[in-house]
Symmetry: C2
């Protein structure tokens, strides 16, 4: 085992974005050599890895060729060529999470069916191969308004998801394989990150809660620990553990869930990698999610998942009406607030709602952290230089 450290072992990472960059801090801490593949010549990982290769993550030959050169392969993004991963695995290369896990997750229809097959609580659903079949089901009264529409592939960050309340809402939907899900009212959107190693060691992080803007229906704060009953938190961690067990994944699995009005926990979807809902762990946890991912895929003992202090994460997104060279207005003011750490993703240009970074607020008292987080949101503005 110990031969990962200061040796010739090379970890390959597919995707060179922000998640990869944060993962690379941890490989540096352990002195683990890294190689990164990303389509962009300006990928954030470029200057933090040992070797960088520019190439298409969906191209079989590129991914296969890259994989051949490394000792173990992981990814920081789901949209990679699964067939190449399969071939690498068949030749004995370690790929964590496995192509099998990834394939089940890449297609939301398959993912939902997987939950059903494994008796994991999730909203009732039906898969449709195209828009026409979806429309037919409505006409035949097999499917009723309202429902949640999801594109089976390609969606992320809320893209590829729509609430369909009437026939009007169907018109703008693209003609793709999709699923229609029962719209279940919920009290809270929760998430639990589970880490699992090849030896089967499993640890869950405390439950986080997404607090939404009262009008804009956008997540404003990711709060850890979630302000929910102990019994509900326990149930959420149990459900997340069951999902992890069903997938038998290796690495991290971020499980997004709803707490219904009846305090049931139902699974929404999962991501097999470090996740936005775990960014707070850098400042709040004994083991941050990136270190935990590295520990898990290298089959090292998992770190303690408890929190040292309460943590809140706020996304830094481009302000409306601002496009161009970015300025973080008042960043020095938020840095003067207690327990506030900005993380800047280094994108040169801002545009409305573009994710430009995040800010973590930590405090022993989560309600105090919540107040400071509100101050942070009010104070910092991601604007363009020309419109200052």
């Amino acid at each position: 085992m110990a031969n990962y450290f200061s040796s010739n072992f090379t970890l390959g990472i597919l995707g060179g974005g922000q998640l990869g960059k944060m993962m690379l801090y941890e490989t540096r801490k352990y002195d683990i050599k890294t190689a990164v593949l990303d389509p962009s010549a300006e990928a954030p990982c470029r200057i933090a890895c040992d070797s960088f290769e520019q190439g298409d993550l969906m191209d079989f030959d590129t991914v296969y060729g890259f994989g051949k050169k490394v000792d173990l392969l992981t990814f920081e993004i789901e949209n990679v060529n699964v067939e190449a991963l399969k071939k690498l695995e068949s030749e004995g290369k370690k790929v964590y999470p496995s192509s099998e896990t990834l394939q089940k997750i890449q297609n939301k229809g398959i993912q939902k069916q997987f939950y059903k097959d494994h008796r994991i609580p999730t909203a009732a659903f039906r898969v449709f191969q195209n828009k026409n079949l979806l429309n037919e089901a409505i006409v035949r009264k097999e499917l009723h308004f309202p429902f949640v529409w999801k594109s089976c592939t390609g969606g992320y960050d809320g893209k590829g998801v729509s609430i369909v309340r009437d026939a009007e809402d169907i018109i703008p939907l693209p003609d793709v394989e999709c699923l229609a899900e029962k719209l279940i009212p919920f009290k809270n959107e929760l998430a639990v990150i589970v880490a699992r190693s090849p030896s089967g060691e499993v640890k869950t992080y405390p439950v986080v809660e997404m607090e939404f803007h009262p009008e804009a229906n956008q997540v404003e704060y990711v709060i850890c620990p979630a302000r929910i009953d102990e019994a509900v938190a326990k149930k959420a961690r149990e459900v997340a553990k069951n999902v992890s067990e069903a997938f038998k994944h290796v690495g991290l699995l971020a499980v997004e869930m709803f707490q219904t009005n009846e305090d049931e926990i139902i699974v929404n979807e999962v991501a097999p990698r470090p996740h936005n809902s775990g960014h707070h762990t850098i400042e709040s946890s004994y083991t941050n999610q990136f270190e935990q991912h590295i520990r898990a895929i290298l089959d090292l003992p998992l770190g303690k998942t408890e929190s040292k202090v309460g943590g809140i994460m706020v996304n830094l997104v481009g302000a409306e009406g601002h496009t161009g060279e970015v300025v973080y207005k008042n960043i020095e003011k938020i840095m003067a607030m207690e327990g506030v750490t900005p993380h800047i993703y280094g994108k040169k240009e801002t545009r409305p709602f573009r994710k430009m970074g995040h800010v973590t607020i930590v405090n022993e008292d989560i309600s105090k952290a919540r107040k400071i987080a509100a101050e942070v949101k009010k104070t910092i503005h991601v604007i363009s230089k020309n419109d200052q």
Copy 2:
């Protein structure tokens, strides 16, 4: 101020070792561009900075030329060409800590005289230009055994320091400018890191304690908070603040002190940079020392210096009798212990007592952390591959 972030500002760092490497994680977090100068082509910073230059840190032209290319200059090592820094400053370049601070610290004779001039408590001393003058003072009975001998320049990590108990002990000492210091019995060796910004904002970290091996007279554990009376801790932070105030330094100042048997605090020496006694802050503090250094030199608000949890740091040094390609025996065992994080410095070869990394142990209960730290020390062995 905000223009450090995602802009064309470049921070120059003299020295590309481990301290620089840990500093670079923080510049990445803030997306600050960096350039590093180091004599070694294999410097740890090489793959973590934006641009790397190989060159002699003591050479005027090299340091001056490097400084001209960056917007602000700092260092992670004291042995750099001060004249070059002076010239850069005279031309308007920001250098933090300043050449003035560095010059006072580089020579221990000047440093001690500075404490005397500023009424900072320190052991009585005399400076000698060479070994002959030191011997004369002993012959004339102006200097009495025992005393502490220190080389005025070039000493670090305990090198260049000797306890002289009799004439025999003088023989091996080199013929250099030196000082003789009164040997004062002490209860504890303590340290406080002070951060100070150009605007004069000052914050002190909690007091740390060095626990020595009962026989080997080597620091075994750096413990935060120090297990001392609240009144003594308060005094130590006050003294450290006074030292900081006297230097009017910018950046970090690590102040090493003794707690005498009479509970007096006397200053031993200082380092104007991130320091071994602050490594635990990565895991234990609201703001780690490297982030704090960056905040300070960029005149950003200083971060909170309190601890989230208790922290203990153990150095990872090469085992006796082992030279060659390094193996971290049982590293996976210490990683299974609660709250344990190894930091591996990436040196390929081990040799007896070489600093190869450090391990941090954090826990809410410092006495529990201390027990785990003892387990860590007992368990991990930095050995060579051939002698396994």
